[in-house]
Symmetry: C2
Subunit: 113 residues, 2 copies
DNA sequence: CGTCGATATCGATGGGTGTCGATGCGGTGA
DNA sequence: TCACCGCATCGACACCCATCGATATCGACG
């Protein structure tokens, strides 16, 4: 189609802002996907509200009602997304939320990104 | 196990706040899952930045590089999640972001939910 | 040094989802 | 009236993911 004509059709939108790049969109989607699970939300909520120095895996398994490998899996997802961090001590693993990780995400959403 | 003993084991956490309910976690996860896709993020960003009165589907198909049925699918997901709304006019469909939808989500994340 | 307990990883499995082409449904204009 | 156009839905396909049991790893402890 003739481009000069294409711009004059009935259905067009001005496009005032530059389109979001593939990389930014993918990065944002990756973090959101890590959060988009009920069990991971519960985990993060518990980490954020209950532990200044971390929560060990064994204290997450029972209240979540899922098996221990599943809990480890979810914690790994959150950790790879940069939302929680792990502190190993003896044979225990204490997880705690990364300060500001959710704040950055919240501000991104708030600014209409 | 004896509860009086369970509280005294090595691996315990105080649990200062009530656990997040299944319903809240599922609802939050549903909204986040609707956002957890690069194409949907691009769509929402474009809707938020380019259109006071809505963007029609045909203007989203080409810049996203995906077929029209896929665009309709993503718009449907966003609409069912309460993030965008549709205004039909003639044979066109104009989509626009729901005001405050992202703000509420951002505040939920910011308050550590 | 052997056992046990806490976590992580592996392999399998069932369900969910993004993508597409084909098709249906209204509304427009010739 | 009829062809065309924009959009939604359908059916199929491939792929990802949450979950589990089984197993490996690693440190503590007797």
């Amino acid at each position: 189609m003739d481009p000069a004509v294409a711009g004059a059709l009935a259905c067009r939108t001005p496009l005032t802002a530059p389109a979001l790049g593939d990389a930014e969109a993918a990065a944002l989607a990756a973090v959101l996907k890590a959060l988009a699970d009920p069990n991971r939300i519960k985990i993060l909520h518990r980490l954020a509200s209950a532990a200044p120095d971390g929560v060990c895996v064994c204290d997450l398994t029972e209240p979540l009602g899922i098996a221990q490998p599943s809990v480890s899996h979810h914690l790994g997802v959150l950790r790879r997304a940069g939302l929680v961090e792990r502190r190993r001590e003896a044979s225990f693993a204490y997880y705690s939320p990364v300060p500001g990780a959710l704040d950055r995400l919240a501000s991104l959403l708030g600014t209409g990104a």
